[in-house]
Symmetry: C2
Subunit: 271 residues, 2 copies
């Protein structure tokens, strides 16, 4: 399906775009089923928060309208929405009144092996560490070289995802997923106030777990805590939940809480 730039079909982007020059923008990757963007409110909420923190002017109602129209035309697949601060003049200074450029792209749903969700995955232990930048932490912005470097650390098909730590050795997330631990009946995920991407599915799982009366904790997580966890899983808004069965000599089984939450996210994404 054709891309849209500012609401019109387009193949190409201005070479002056600040998304290219500086990674000056944000993105969302949205699962689309039967023409409906899934978890749309959470995606739009994170995007609006990113716009606020980067002082990016965007017409949120227009974005919602375009995402709905594009998803309806796409039918089944993944919709990628990119917002950039538009064209650059010269240098880092931006026109504070400039409106964000809206880019919509469609693709087929990725063909992940069914075993990822069923038997669980093995995480590659990435040597690339996430740097601490509170001003950008949590945002799904376009500065993603750390993820590019981490993803280049393995090429075999045995590892479906990679584990990322921060510079202090805290367990933060996976390369394109968030990470959860189940420990003594509690659900834990990393505090993302220093680094990491606050995923839409992570937010949904925190909400669902709390609704089920499960104790949830957003906190710093050590490698020791990861090793001693009863269950480990990763999640994102396209594939839902994958149990994690191993990483660098550590082993876990897909336990009951992982399976319960996996059922809930599957229902959400198949809706």
């Amino acid at each position: 399906m054709h891309c849209w730039v500012d609401g019109r079909p387009a193949d190409a982007l201005s070479l002056k775009d600040r998304g290219l020059a500086y990674g000056d923008g944000l993105f969302e990757t949205i699962a689309v089923r039967s023409g409906q963007p899934q978890l749309l409110e959470r995606h739009l909420q994170r995007l609006a928060e990113g716009c606020r923190r980067l002082a990016l002017n965007a017409d949120q109602a227009l974005i919602r309208h375009e995402v709905l129209a594009y998803a309806a035309a796409l039918g089944e697949g993944v919709l990628k929405l990119i917002l950039t601060r538009g064209d650059s003049l010269r240098g880092y200074a931006a026109d504070p009144a400039a409106m964000a450029r809206r880019i919509l792209q469609g693709a087929a749903l990725p063909a992940y092996p069914a075993a990822n969700a069923e038997q669980g995955i093995v995480l590659f232990p990435c040597a690339t560490r996430l740097s601490e930048q509170p001003l950008l932490a949590g945002l799904k912005h376009l500065n993603r070289l750390e993820q590019v470097l981490a993803r280049a650390e393995w090429r075999d098909a045995e590892h479906a995802e990679g584990l990322m730590l921060d510079g202090a050795g805290r367990v933060i997330e996976a390369v394109f997923s968030n990470l959860f631990l189940v420990s003594q009946g509690r659900l834990l995920t990393a505090d993302l106030s220093r680094c990491g991407v606050a995923g839409v599915m992570r937010a949904e799982i925190l909400f669902q777990a709390a609704s089920l009366g499960i104790s949830v904790e957003v906190t710093d997580i050590s490698l020791d805590q990861l090793q001693q966890a009863d269950e480990v899983f990763v999640c994102n808004s396209v594939y839902g939940i994958w149990p994690v069965r191993a990483c660098a000599g550590m082993r876990w089984s897909a336990g009951p809480l992982t399976r319960k939450l996996q059922g809930i996210t599957r229902a959400l994404l198949d809706a």
Copy 2:
């Protein structure tokens, strides 16, 4: 002047480019005088080092050839060279055999006030801190949101540049310049192994100073050391050297070593 993409005139870029999606690439900003790219060897050397560290495949001889041809056509101005890892498939994984996409853009020389070089400038004390990422430190890569945020902290014309510290409070650089101190006859600039951009003019000044028998030191620099410096200046490969006369209550005079090095860089850029 028209942009070139992979050696051909172009107005627009593929919407799948990884430079847009992830900031997955590098750039150089090169002063062009009388059709000649200035400090070309240093620019190409840094670019090659960046390609090596990001595992970006690029034909360095072809890049040199295109930069020379583009500069000859541009005559006077600033040539911006962007290398990206080409088009994305899906996700962060890249084709390890992919060749870098080459983008060349031309612009007029920026019209900085003559007073910047003559009387010196005032630095805005940016609150945005540089994060520590040794894997990317020193590179002129396309992940520049920290500079975008820092540059957005001031809009008045009184501040020509902004001072940036790292998370630990070390003095690192300016938003689009490197920073030097003169202290008791020695020339100091920040160690850029944790963060910062290792500028081409910084490298040239370190070389020139050493050739003049001046003691140079690349080291961690504290705000106290900055305050107590005898002279402070900023530099880049387009404007050369600007003395710094003030920043957040600190004051300095443009001293003899700043003026001597300024004369040398002016001669280099006017060559």
